[in-house]
Amino acid sequence: MSHHDESTAERGPQEIADLPKEKVARFDAALPEILKRYPTDHKEAAMLAALRRAQEIFDWLSPAAQKLVANRLGAAVTRAEEVATFYVMYHTRPVGRHVVEVCTNVSCSLAGGYDLFDHLRKSLDVDNGGTTKDGRITLRQVECLGSCGTAPAMLVDEEMHESLTPQSVERILGGLK
């Protein structure tokens, strides 16, 4: 991590025992369905899917959540860590209640994607990757979302929104509680 002065809240729970029992139970209940897709001798292959599920349940991948996933897959904790930090859809720091990701790659920017991102940064008063003070929205710019023909595009909580206009963006963000 590049931040040296993170608060305890930023660092999150450290050990599996620190995680809410009810959520751990939900994660455990979801595992068999995930494991079904892989040969029984390759349980670790479920790492990406298991981390995704853990993130859905725990909101972000704290060290404790990463340890839980590693533990259940019989993998080293460092394996969970390196996967969680490699892929940009995993959050290894706390995020807001909603994550808004605006594409600023070429085709989107030709259609106003960068301007949209810049506008949101100002109106929400956050920097790239930052979260609004009320904890409502984490904003960041992302790379091409495969929606270049319906640019500009953004993801809101992992759902794609395309052919954006200032009006549609306002409506979509307005609907986020």
Partner: protein, 444 residues
């Protein structure tokens, strides 16, 4: 003569469910395939001149023959990562006609004696992943695959699963894709050995793009010759071209493989939305060398466009009119590759951010002629020096933009800024740190 459509004929309105697909004649190719000798199917695909649609254009039938004869199990990975900027075609196959892909996969698996296939789809395509999951459920319930038999007739156990990525362009590279399916970070592997010999979990593995496999049912049903005849040169069939940027009608167009780029842009897409002249076209995804507006009268067939110094790669055509600053566009592309380098090896890990930073500096009007000389030299230091093709992919746009629009770079240096002004899109405003997102960089 009406144009033959193979991939888009059911888009976007026909019922994507299995009933809709069958009502339109779906799964007839598989029906025919299970009555054929597996080797005959491979021969048919070879003779069809089907070439990979993921970017490299490798002959599909030939790739299939690389599997060693007696090693089992073998696997199939279907590449639905679709992350090359400007590319947006495979998602529509997954969304509008998922059974077409599943039929292609089933035929390929039957032909190659593969019993386990993974569709690796980028994490951002949640809707498309759901569409594929639903189609797999339907096909299983209908006894098409997933049980002891294919179509309830041929003894053949086949399992197809969807695996979702989690945000990493590099996982579209085939060896990184396999690492990711194995549950690891997407570090490309050294080659050789090639995946067909040592692939997923060390076993022989075929990796094909979504669009590539979606052509297979038609080839089996209508024959190799009909498919080859639709194309041009050594490339059979039609292709999906996704046109974006400054055009009147952006979107995906299915055209014969040898279609003319200028015709696609000026006629099918209606030219530029602004009515201004076309200044530049990136013809095959952001890694393909750029063409000037006066160079676009070329065939999109891979070998033909190669002669024009570029490639039709993933079929992603990005059009820019004369209001667009080439330095800014290139800086944004360079930022992408800097962001997406897996970071495993030095020339690419250090070279890609270096190129990006120099381009930003020139764009801001702070560059010197020395910077320009450096940016002309750096791509050459990366090309051919890297483990995977991302290095080349990052170097080619830099080389071509600077070569073809050199005067714009010089103008930025001599005029100490961009004459296109501060408005419009760009990468250079705001704090530098704000532009670097993503966890890959936080841990570097």
């Amino acid at each position: 003569m009406s144009e033959t459509l193979i991939l888009t004929r059911r888009w976007p309105k026909n019922d994507p469910s299995i009933d809709g697909y069958r009502a339109d004649g779906g799964y007839r190719g598989l029906e025919k395939a299970i009555g054929m000798a597996p080797a005959a199917i491979v021969d048919e695909v070879k003779a069809s001149n089907l070439r990979g649609r993921g970017g490299a254009g490798f002959p599909t039938g030939l790739k299939w023959t690389f599997l060693p004869k007696d090693v089992r199990p073998r696997y199939l990975c279907i590449n639905a990562d679709e992350s090359e900027p400007g590319t947006f075609k495979d998602r529509y196959i997954c969304e509008y006609d998922p059974h077409l892909l599943l039929e292609g996969i089933s035929i390929a698996c039957f032909a190659l004696d593969i019993h386990l296939a993974y569709i690796y789809i980028r994490g951002e395509f949640a809707k498309q992943a759901r569409s594929l999951e639903k189609a797999i459920e339907e096909a299983r319930a209908a006894g098409i695959f997933g049980g002891p038999k294919l179509l309830g007739k041929a003894d053949f156990d086949l399992q197809i699963h969807v695996v979702r990525g989690a945000g990493a362009y590099i996982c579209g590279e085939e060896s990184a894709l396999m690492e990711s399916v194995e549950g690891k970070k997407g570090y490309p592997r050294f080659k050789p050995p090639f995946p067909a010999i040592v692939g997923l979990w060390g076993k022989p593995t075929i990796i094909n793009n979504v669009e590539t496999l979606a052509n297979v049912p038609w080839i089996v049903e209508h024959g190799a010759k009909a498919f080859a005849d639709l194309g041009a040169g050594k490339t059979g069939g039609t292709r999906l071209f996704g046109v974006s940027g400054n055009v009147k009608r952006p979107g995906v167009y299915e055209k014969p493989a040898g279609y003319n780029l200028k015709k696609l842009i000026m006629e099918d897409c209606g030219g530029t939305a602004s009515g201004r002249p076309v200044k530049a076209v990136i013809p095959g995804g952001s890694s393909s060398p750029v063409l000037r507006g006066d160079e676009i009268d070329v065939s999109l067939e891979p070998d033909a466009i190669k002669a024009a110094g570029t490639m039709s790669g993933s079929g992603g055509v990005i059009v820019m009119d004369d209001s667009v600053c080439m330095v800014r566009a290139l800086a944004r592309i360079a930022m992408f590759y800097a962001e997406e380098s897996c970071g495993q090896f030095t020339p690419c890990r250090q070279g890609t951010p270096w190129m990006w930073k120099i381009l930003e500096k020139i764009e801001r009007g702070e560059g010197t002629l020395k910077d320009l000389a450096l940016i002309e030299q750096l791509p050459g230091n990366i090309m051919g020096q890297t483990i995977c093709a991302l290095g080349d992919a990052a170097a080619m746009p830099v080389q071509s933009f600077v070569k073809k629009f050199r005067n714009e770079f010089v103008e930025h240096i001599e005029g100490k800024g961009c004459k296109h002004g501060e408005t419009g899109w760009g990468v250079s405003r705001g704090s530098r740190e704000a532009l670097v997102g993503g966890n890959r960089h936080a841990v570097r």
